[in-house]
Symmetry: C2
């Protein structure tokens, strides 16, 4: 069985033919312009899909097209309500337009949910039935897999795992609430904290590393900590406690077998994982007597979105 | 179809014959002593169950026995690991002992989960498929229903909804963490806050109401607020904000169709509900553009535990 998985980003659309064994047969991609009308972009995307099906001799062999898209959608209808990166797509029906041009059924879901599904089926989550994935990037995204299936709540509007308050009346979050997990554990938050620390302690190694990296991103604090800088260590320790408290909440709420970490900060790999595990163990994985929760790094990388989108169709 | 539902409390065990329409055919109960050995208590309970089956002419007609029990258990095995109210039951197999004496299959789950299942099937949650129930009592308990089924996580150890931190490094919680929802939104927390307010403002109506009620419980603050006392109002407003932030978190995480409130504080009924709804509406039910979540009070009262326990068997 073969499905097409489509991952819609802010500057490009990436697609792949994916088998029910999770193999990618062929990849394709398309630049997307946010100034171009929805209809023009969808016509270009549909034409490309039709061409790729033909070129790869897959006519009549595609079960469906799964799409992972950021933003707020009516997923059953296929309607885009609010697209943060491509505002000209707002209030357009992505599902119906592609079905009209390509003639293959389309399923739509949130990009974070879809990535979690991909990791659960064919990535570092393949041996677990119950897991959550937390993406530590510009924001904090999340996906929940229960008994091997994507859980996304009423009208697919749940699993907004970054928007759980961990510090009431705390930092302002883009969502309008104060003290969200995202406002403490995203790469964006770590960068803000790093810059504030550099301002207070310009003598720290963080200043040297800023020059080496030609700027500040989520890596600076970890690099400084690894080189023994006390301000870098403090930043990392604070970050681990924010991340740890959020994960402990999710241990108590979902009690998953595993939590997969992905996104920019997860590139810290074993250095991050070992510290998070230590924090969770010290706090009894959420509550005394509670079973251990595995913490792992995502393994599909940039393919998780395409593979996961295809899974919407392959495992419906 | 008929099942027996058993609700194990700290001082008594309550049971009922429940039909698959949620009707209670007959109730029975038994006092339990925490000083008496497990074997003696279970023999008494089993004898009572056998007698009730015979007296009600239900031999061969009982599909199974469902039990809701507080504390930490290996639910599949039927083993009680830690029983907060009946410590002599620790490390005993409740399921196997009753099956041995009565000869009917037994299923075990947490009391909060079971109550949520009862409300979902036959109480104020019957028209929803996705809901959560939050019990505002001595602690804050919770149960999660997804697509009409009880969700309780890996090894049935999830859905500990009271133990989500809403204020990092905040109030100490019985679970060992700091800042749990339970430490702010339980009846116990409200009583503590009421006593602290009375100490700071002995001139408030709270002092008068203490004499009327012969003590302080979760009602005092609400009574004072209703009579216009500014300190009572402040207590209630603070309580609504704690409860509201926790519920907003669960809106974002689960996006249920409804949240059912139960337990002592839920006795405030419409006065509580109207204020909680206002708080949620003001904060867009968790996030701008998110669908509304119904807030309702549990309707089965003290029967939710027995009916829910029977549902473990009726809807397995």
């Amino acid at each position: 069985m073969i499905a097409i998985g489509i991952d819609i980003g802010g500057t490009s659309i990436k697609g792949a033919f994916v088998t029910d064994k999770g193999e990618i047969l062929h990849r394709f991609s398309l630049k997307v312009s946010k100034d171009s009308p929805f209809e023009v972009e969808i016509k270009k995307l549909s034409d490309l899909i039709n061409k790729e099906i033909k070129d790869n001799h897959l006519e009549g062999k595609i079960k469906g097209i799964g799409i992972g898209n950021p933003g707020i959608m009516d997923m059953d209808e296929g309607l885009i309500i609010e697209s943060p990166n491509l505002p000209s797509w707002n209030n357009h029906n992505l599902k119906k337009e592609i079905e009209k041009h390509v003639g293959i059924p389309v399923k739509l879901n949130n990009d974070a949910n879809v990535a979690a599904l991909g990791e659960a089926k064919f990535g570092s989550g393949h041996k677990y039935k119950d897991l959550i994935m937390i993406t530590l990037g510009t924001g904090v995204g999340g996906g929940v897999i229960i008994n091997g299936k994507l859980f996304d709540g009423h009208l697919h509007q749940g699993a907004e795992l970054g928007h759980m308050i961990i510090k009431m009346n705390g930092r302002e979050c883009g969502c309008g609430r104060k003290g969200c997990f995202e406002a403490y554990a995203s790469a964006t938050a770590l960068i803000k904290d790093t810059k504030a620390m550099m301002k207070r302690h310009p003598e720290s190694l963080l200043t040297v590393i800023e020059k080496e990296l030609n700027g500040v991103d989520a890596r600076n604090a970890f690099m400084a900590a690894k080189r023994g800088d006390k301000y870098g260590k403090k930043l990392v320790n604070n970050y681990i406690s924010y991340l740890g408290e959020g994960l402990l909440n999710y241990c108590n709420i979902f009690r998953p077998e595993a939590i997969i970490l992905s996104g920019g900060v997860a590139n810290e790999g074993e250095y991050l994982i070992s510290r998070v595990k230590k924090y969770l163990a010290k706090h009894h994985y959420g509550m005394k007597g509670s079973p251990e929760v595995d913490i792992v790094i995502s393994s599909l990388g940039y393919d998780s979105g395409k593979i996961g989108a295809a899974c919407l169709v392959l495992f419906e």
